[in-house]
């Protein structure tokens, strides 16, 4: 179909997605490695290529507050941040979700200090799990662009009406150029309907958001409503993926993608840029070692792909969940949720947690091959794992 590819960093892929989505207000505060997203948007506005207001603010808390205000007043709004900036913004995430205002944010996932560290892990992103935002994580720059455009449609669907995050790994995606297809404005216009939201704040028609509740059970129901919307979002994410696939030829799967899973007995589970290395690892494990390994790529952390994981894991021999973030005193975030949902569904498959790549430590497909080979041989010998949570360092390799 004569596809013209452009080389784009992950950050610029976000910028073009925001432009194509006809976002009207962008508000942000600079932080490495997010900064070039909004720098590019500022340039597109300045050059007259994008019709939007750029609000420069004094902090990330204000960045989301301003975008939230604009979105409440009826326009498509966007912000982007990372690491410490995201943590500073954290309170406002609850306000946007609790107000049921659709809004899209890009998070360049980055380690949290101390010490100061700009490299990728998923601690900042995973710290937002309980806020009520949809959370997607991209594997490559094309997915970054596609998922950002799709996120506007998903968040503005009346069955959802929640804000959403698109995560991309610091530097591995944000500052690395890859060939990306930038869809035409006509394709995006055809895909994205006019903005929808549950209510609009208008001048001369004052409303109050968040007044003191007179009935705490109703207040509790509001939180339950967010949970129900998350459940409904699963179907919406599938539909939107299908529709985008029809227009562009790119389908990713809904909440997960399963790579070489059909005959797989052992599974690798992970999310983000290193899923690319996991694909390599799966190919290597199959071609060189002859083990039937499949990869479950988690595309959405919220809503969590409970059903998909249960389906793939119920007849598996073993699984290793790779986590780039964890809760000290408990375990890796993806691991904990995977085993909880698998366990209540009666899945007896031994599932192990590999904590790796934390604080930006480089992990290659060879590391993943090593970890998986060791865990498979342990399960085949003992029937289970001696240790369910392993801190992986390359060490003497």
């Amino acid at each position: 179909m004569g596809l013209v590819l452009t080389t784009l960093t992950g950050n610029y892929a976000v910028s073009y997605a925001v432009k194509l989505s006809r976002v009207k207000v962008v508000s942000a505060y600079p932080i490495t490695p997010q900064t070039t997203i909004v720098e590019k948007i500022a340039q597109l506005i300045e050059d007259g290529e994008m019709d939007a207001e750029m609000i420069r603010v004094e902090s990330e808390h204000s960045a989301l507050a301003a975008a939230y205000g604009a979105a409440s007043a009826g326009v498509r709004a966007f912000t982007a941040t990372s690491s410490h900036g995201l943590l500073y913004m954290h309170e406002m995430l609850w306000w946007v979700a609790g107000s049921r205002i659709p809004l899209v944010m890009a998070v360049a996932t980055r380690t949290i200090g101390p010490p100061w560290n700009i490299w990728t892990d998923h601690s900042d992103l995973m710290d937002q799990r309980d806020t009520g935002w949809l959370i997607a994580m991209a594997e490559n720059n094309q997915e970054v662009l596609d998922e950002t455009i799709k996120m506007f449609k998903i968040t503005e669907d009346p069955r959802v009406y929640l804000p959403g995050i698109v995560g991309l790994d610091a530097f591995i995606l944000t500052h690395t150029s890859e060939p990306v297809d930038i869809p035409t404005q006509e394709v995006v216009d055809q895909f994205l309907p006019d903005r929808r939201q549950p209510y609009v704040f208008k001048a001369g028609d004052p409303l109050i958001m968040g007044n003191i509740p007179k009935d705490l059970e109703l207040n509790m129901r509001m939180r339950e409503d967010i949970d129900k919307a998350m459940e409904r979002a699963k179907k919406v994410i599938d539909e939107v993926d299908f529709e985008w696939g029809k227009l562009t030829g790119r389908r990713y799967g809904g909440l997960t993608e399963c790579y070489r899973c059909e005959d797989a007995k052992h599974f690798i589970i992970g999310m983000g840029a290193w899923v690319g290395d996991m694909r390599e690892a799966v190919d290597k494990l199959r071609s060189k070692y002859g083990v039937k390994v499949g990869l479950i790529k988690i595309r959405y952390v919220r809503p969590f792909p409970r059903e998909d994981l249960i389906k793939w894991l119920s007849n598996a021999s073993s699984a290793v969940v790779f986590d780039r973030s964890f809760s000290p005193g408990s375990g890796g975030h993806l691991f904990l949720e995977t085993v909880a949902h698998a366990s209540v569904a009666g899945v007896r498959t031994p599932i192990k947690n590999c904590l790796a790549g934390i604080a930006g430590v480089d992990v290659t497909y060879e590391d993943i091959v090593d970890v998986v080979l060791k865990s498979i041989s342990e399960v085949e010998e003992v029937g289970t794992f001696k240790e369910f949570i392993e801190w992986y360092y390359r060490g003497g390799r």
């Binding site: 049921r100 009406y161 109050i208 509740p213 007179k214 129901r221 409503d225």
Partner: protein, 95 residues
């Protein structure tokens, strides 16, 4: 709109209209009460302008009692007392 909340597309939202007393009788929170002395008032309207809860009314037609404070909702924050240039407002402990 149903008082303090609203239901839109079957979603319960903490959305309401700004009406008198939408958050309940917040005057019960008051520890100190602003008291108005009409004789010192120079009708500058600063108290009316600064009141964060909009509980001060200006009585244009009644110069002898220029402002009225709605004690049902005044939380006694003391901002009006602070901005009054002539001490026409003073803060008195509630009993």
């Amino acid at each position: 709109m149903k008082g303090w909340y609203a239901v839109v597309d079957e979603i319960i939202l903490p959305l309401s209209r700004p009406t008198v007393g939408v958050a309940g009788r917040t005057g019960t929170w008051r520890v100190n009460r602003p008291v108005f002395n009409s004789e010192k008032c120079i009708k500058c309207r600063l108290c009316w302008l600064y009141c964060p809860d909009n509980v001060i009314d200006v009585n244009e037609a009644n110069p002898s009692n220029f402002i009225t404070i709605d004690y049902n909702y005044c939380k006694g924050c003391g901002v009006c007392v602070d901005v009054c240039p002539t001490k026409a407002l003073t803060l008195v402990p509630e009993r």
